[in-house]
Structure formats: C-alpha cells, structure tokens
C-alpha cells in the first residue's frame, strides 16, 4: 500500500517529505511487530485483545458451510468488528483466487481458508503471516498432534486448524449383507472381498477410485511413505520409497484387475452411486458423514463406519485425508485484528459449537474427547456411535508426513500421470514415476534444489 503514497509524495516534492517519513515509519513499525517480538507471547495475546476492542473491518474467504453463522456470532460478541464473508465455493478455486490476488498485490483477504496440503505453497513464498508473535503458540495443546503438525512448520505458526480428516472405512451394510461380505480389517481381506463382490455382481464396485491426488497421497501416508520432504529450498521427492510402492503394489491388485469403479468423484453419478449401492465402500476422511447425510439421503440407514483397513492386522495405522486451516495473509492491512478473529474462529468454544452442529469434524482435542461427541448415536448410520471409530483413527495417524511446497500444482498434474494408470488399469508405479519426474523438473525450474533419494 505504501508505494502509491510514496510516488505521490515524491511528486509533491519537498513539502511532502514529512508525510513520506511518517508513512515509511508506519510501514516499519507494523512490519516489526509482525516478525520481531516473538519473545513476548503474552504481550502478543494482549495485542489481539486490544485489536478486538479497537475494532475494524476484515475480509474472510472460506467455503465452510457454517462460516456465515460463525461470523454472525463473532460480530455479535465483538460489535466493533465487521467481517466481510466471501464464499469461494471450494478449495480448488480458492487457491487459484488467492494466488491471483497475491500476485495482483491487492484484493487478497485478511483471513483465508487453506487446505493443509496447500499450506506449504503459501508459506514458502512468504504469503502468510507468522502467528507466533501473537501468542498463538499457547494454543498448541488444544489441537490434535497431526493437525498442529500441519500448521506449525518451517519455523513458524502459519495457520490454525479448523477440521481434520482421520481416515476410516465407510461401507454399505445393505450391500454387504446381500452378498455375504465381511468387513475387512486388512488390505488383503479388502482385496478378497472386492473380488468376491465383483464375481457376484460385476455392476457393483467394492471400491470406486477415479484416481485423485488427495486420496493417493493419504494412502501412501498410511503405508508409511515419505515421498515428499521439504526443508526450505531443499526438496526431496521419492514416489518409489518403500511406503509408496507398498501402497501401489497393493492397490495394483484392484486396479489392474479392473475391480475399481471409475465413477468421477463428486459427480452427480457418484452421489447417486453412493445412494443405490453401486459403490460398496469408501475409505476417506472423517468429515464424510456430514456429506453423506446432507447429500445422499437415500443412503440413510445403510452405511456404517469401520476402522481403515491396515497392512498389519495387529497394528492400526491411519492417515489424514482433507481438512483445512485458516491463515492470515501477509498483505492484510490489519494483521492483529485478522489474527484475533482467527483465534476466535478456531479456538473459541462458541465458534466450534456452531462448526460441529453443521456436521464438521473437529481438530480440537477437547471436542474430540468429549463424551457427548463420542457417544452421539447417528441415525443415518443405523444408530452407530461413529465418532468413536473416527476419533480412534485420529490417534493412530502416522507421523512425519509432509506435502510439497507446490502441492496444488502437483495435484493438478496428478491426473496427467498417475490418473492415466487408473484410467488404463496399468501399473500405478509407472504413473507415480511419471508424476515424480514432472514434479522434479517443476521444482528445479522454480529454483528449488531437488533430490530424489
């Protein structure tokens, strides 16, 4: 913002020197408060309270359905603050638009929803505000370890977790009963059941996998892979590490045999398939019940939740799938107020209550462990206490997972590479290699030091 002011000041020459100085001083002081005073966390928290009391106007981009009610509750609690809510429709568009606005140098929001997997690509070029100076680090104990790990990285705290997606297996009990299938606990059993169903009725699919990047990375995560390791400008990409091949070899047994349905995910046909038994199981994040209840009414009473199948029957290991955080954009004209809103949004019990009521799955441990939450019986799932299964999964998420600093670009070319293996029912490892190769050259073009082992 200071550049146009400076230009004008220069044009008016000597008379404006005073103004110029004060403008640059203001710029200095605001930047020092955001990066310098990390030592004094309690002062940071106090500055957030002060910002809330002073009031102002901020813009918040999100696609969370409960956002409107959350903002209304916030404005009621802090009448001096006005929050302009912008519904960005979904994660894909949201990233592109944020990228564009940052590139344009204006029009970016103050607070923005970002998926965990896309955080690094905004953190690395310095687009987001480090929240450490505002005492946000004190909130660490409130969040599950895997979600905190996603927002606190690269020597800073870049966002606050909103929801999480510990993976579980959803299965259509009606289909299981009809064809005499048993609920698999390991991937070997999963494959056996898939074959059994396919033999009984080839029009039904035990699993539908149109091949999307988020699912694949989560599956590699569960199998113990660490294909992406980023340390500043040094990035390691190895999509043929032991975890990656472990998953690919397992999943190949379904893919190459043509046992996977290829109904496009999130399409009208997919929703229909979830309702009428065409798709028998769905291994995905714990946020799925909300989607099923809202969008697949005909599946009511048919679906159940079971733990994610594992490679080792005696050792439950899971992964996260999806989920997002909110962050403060560096360009924000009022970073303290933005951070204060963010703190309220993702840690105040009132806000989280509204979020949960809309069917969201929390990242806050207090809510994950509350007995109300755990013992809630879901009518849609035939009275099953589904949260117990999902929360249990959140405790077994494999640690140390990282995404690429350009994950949304990587995801965009996933369909060009690994997606082709799914489409043609060929070896997934070949697709993974192609994906790796394109990411390596992209990373090098962008100035990273990329290694592959």
């Amino acid at each position: 913002m200071s550049t146009p002011v400076r230009h004008r000041a220069r044009a008016v020459a000597a008379l404006a020197v005073g103004a110029l100085v004060s403008v640059s001083l203001a710029a200095c002081s605001s930047s020092s408060s955001s990066s310098g005073s990390s030592s004094d966390a309690s002062a940071g928290a106090a500055s957030l309270d002060a910002a809330l009391a002073a009031g102002g106007e901020i813009t918040y981009w999100t696609w969370t359905p409960s956002a409107k009610d959350q903002v209304a509750a916030f404005e009621k609690a802090y009448p001096k603050v006005k929050v302009n809510l912008v519904d960005t429709g979904g994660a894909g568009d949201n990233n592109t638009k944020l990228q564009n606005a940052i590139k344009a140098g204006s029009g970016a929001p103050d607070v923005v929803q970002i998926e965990y997997q896309s955080l690094p690509q905004f953190v690395l070029p310095g687009n987001l505000l480090d929240l450490t100076p505002y005492g946000i680090g004190d909130l660490q104990s409130k969040y599950s370890a895997s979600t905190w790990g996603a927002v606190a990285q690269n020597k800073g705290i870049w966002a606050l977790p909103q929801d999480s997606g510990p993976m579980v297996m959803f299965y259509n009990k009606t289909v299981f009963d009809k064809y005499g299938l048993t609920v698999p606990t390991t991937w070997d059993e999963y494959i056996a059941q898939a074959k059994k169903l396919h033999a009984a009725d080839p029009t039904k699919f035990f699993a539908n996998d149109p091949g999307d990047a988020g699912y694949t990375t989560s599956m590699i995560w569960q199998a113990g892979g660490h294909p992406f390791v980023a340390d500043g400008q040094n990035v390691k990409i190895n999509l043929q590490d032991s975890g990656s091949t472990k998953w690919a070899d397992m999943w190949n047994q379904l893919n190459e045999a043509g046992l996977l349905g290829a109904i496009p995910g999130w399409s009208d046909q997919w929703f229909q398939g979830l309702g009428d038994g065409t798709i028998a199981t769905l291994v995905t994040g714990g946020w799925m019940p909300g989607v099923l209840e809202a969008s697949v009414p005909s599946g009511s009473g048919q679906w159940r939740v079971a733990p994610m199948p594992t490679y080792d029957a005696n050792n439950l290991v899971t992964a996260e799938n999806g989920g997002s955080s909110e962050a403060v954009v560096k360009q924000s004209a009022n970073p303290a107020l933005a951070a204060a809103f963010l703190r309220w949004l993702n840690s105040d019990p009132e806000s989280i209550k509204i979020f949960l009521a809309s069917g969201g799955f929390p990242s806050t441990t207090a809510d994950l462990e509350s007995s109300d939450f755990l013992n809630k019986e879901s009518a849609y799932f035939g009275g099953q206490k589904i949260n117990q299964v999902i929360v249990d999964s959140s405790k077994h998420v494999a640690s140390g997972w990282q995404y690429l600093p350009w994950q949304s670009y990587a995801n965009s070319i996933f369909s060009d590479t690994v997606g082709k293996s799914f489409l043609n029912h060929t070896d997934i490892n070949e697709g993974l290699k192609a994906w790796q190769e394109q990411n390596v050259s992209y990373g090098q073009e962008q100035g990273f030091t990329v290694s592959t082992n």
Binding site: P210, K420, E445
Partner: protein, 298 residues
C-alpha cells in the same frame, strides 16, 4: 480487402474520420495492443518461486518448441479442427440450403430452432451435455439400457473428442447456418429467373448459383471456426471437473496456458505460449483468407 477498394469517392481528406475512430482505437490499444506488447516483454523472462524474475532471452521459445505437452495439445486441436469444422460447416450449409430452397414447410420455425442453441451460454451448454453424457445415470445410460449394451460412453478417452465436438457443433451450427442463409438471401432474384428460363434443375442451381454466392460467407465462417478451434477451452475445461484423468491439463494449448499460469505460476512461459498460438492462428486465418479470395477472383 475488396471492400476497401469499393469505398465510393473519398469524402473529405481530414481528421474528422479519425475522430470517429479514435475512441475505438484508444480502447483497442489498451486491451489488445498493450497486452500483446506486454506478453512479448514477459516472454523474455522467467519467474521462479525461489529467486524471482530473471531475463532469459528466447529460452522460453526454445523450451516451448521442445515441449511435448504443447505439441500434444496443438495436435489435438488440429485434429479437432480438421474433423469438427468441416462437419459443422457442412451441416450448416445443408440446413441453410434447405431453408432457402422454398420447398420446406415451416421454414422460419426450423431457422429459429437450429439457431437457438447459439444463445445458450457455453457454460450452460457444457453443464447440460455433461449431465446427459453420464453413462451410469445420465441420458447415455438410458440409451444404453434401451439398446441393451454399454456402447455409448461419451466421457471415456476414445469418445471424448467426439463428445466435445458434438457440444461445439450443437452450439455453433445455427450461427453458421444463419451466416450462410443470410448470404443466400442476398442473391438477386433475377439470377434464379434466368436459371429457370434456362431450364436448370434445383441441383444445378445449387452448384452454379448458390454455392458460388456463398464463397465469401464460407471463407468468413471457416476463419471464425479455425480461431474458435485453436482457442478451445470452455468445453474441455468444464468437462474436466467430471473426468480429470481423461482430459489432461494440456488437452488444448489454451488449457495448457491457463494451467501454467494459474496452477503452476509460470506466467511468463504461459505468455510465450499465448504469443506463439496467436501468431500461429493469425497466419492460418490469413492463409485461408488469401486462398478464399484468390479462388473467388479466378
């Protein structure tokens, strides 16, 4: 260019005319000339996430001409152009001749029906066809179950270009039909009377009077269709949300440019691609224009 020559006696040689043209030229410069210049400038640089912008000379161009993804997309739109444009223009021609023949009941109803899809926003058209193409629950599935096979799978790699071609044809056949029809209406009636006196049959009238009269209209329609094909974007890009593995990020050059800039942050490389495609299209359109007018003068 023939039109320029027919300007009847230049009126006043002054700047009055320029005054009329100036507002257009000002906006024209702002939204066309300057962006072209700006992209030329950008094409000489490279942006990096780490390290920022640096001058690279013509590297982007060398890289583009060696980029298999670029050629893949260009090859695809060329194939599309070679098949879809003739089919669409052929259909438009048949429809225009039929409506103009005077041997049709309810000609004006047919004229407006065939034209109507042009008024449908491209986005709506693709959403609509996308629903209908579904082979699990869409209209394609209905038809498959009617004929008792699973042959119709518009959203698979084998069919997808055909499926997109169908959408584009549906959208624009009426528009082209109208251009042809309008040209036919301006054929002087005396020509037909003369033909009737000569005892020419209706096919001979079509070939010796109507088709020659349509030559310029066909050249114009071809040029616009070529430009449209090279720019192919909306239809595959919206369908892609349904079938990402079938439609790659570089399915057409335009999609490649879009994804390079907005997913990959490679704005300068995308600008290079835009320039090359612009030059390429302009050259081809110019060649068609030249050939068209040369044959007309024969």
């Amino acid at each position: 260019m023939s039109a320029l020559a027919t300007t009847v006696r230049p009126r006043r040689r002054s700047f009055v005319g320029l005054g009329f043209v100036a507002p257009f030229l000002a906006v024209f410069a702002f939204v066309l000339v300057i962006p072209v210049g700006y992209s030329l400038y950008l094409s000489l640089f490279q942006d990096k996430l780490i390290g920022g912008r640096s001058f690279v000379g013509l590297d982007n161009f060398t890289r583009l001409f060696a980029d298999p993804k670029f050629w893949d997309g260009l090859g695809r739109v060329s194939l599309f152009l070679a098949v879809q444009v003739p089919v669409m223009l052929g259909l438009a021609l048949v429809a225009a001749l039929a409506i103009d023949s005077g041997r049709l009941r309810g000609a004006s109803f047919f004229r407006i029906s065939v034209f109507l899809p042009y008024a449908v926003p491209g986005v709506v058209a693709v959403l609509m066809w996308g629903f209908m193409y579904g082979d699990q629950f869409g209209l394609a599935a209905n038809i498959n179950s009617l004929i008792g096979s699973h042959v119709l799978q518009p959203l698979t790699p084998k069919w997808i270009l055909l499926a997109i071609g169908n959408i584009v044809t549906w959208e624009f056949v009426g528009y082209n039909m109208l251009i042809f029809y309008s040209a036919l209406r301006s054929v002087p009636g005396e020509l037909y009377e003369a033909a009737a006196i000569d005892g020419a049959g209706s096919w001979r009238v079509v070939f010796s009077i109507k088709l020659p009269a349509l030559r310029q209209a066909i050249v114009i329609a071809t040029i616009f269709s070529i430009i449209g094909s090279f720019q192919l974007f909306n239809e595959p890009n919206i369908l892609r949300t349904l079938i990402p593995s079938v439609i790659s990020t570089y399915f057409t050059p335009n999609m490649y440019a879009f994804n390079l800039s907005f997913a990959g942050q490679q704005y300068t490389y995308a600008a290079t691609l835009a320039i090359v495609m612009g030059v390429f299209t302009a050259v081809i359109a110019y060649v068609v224009q030249l050939r068209g007018s040369r044959e007309a003068n024969r």
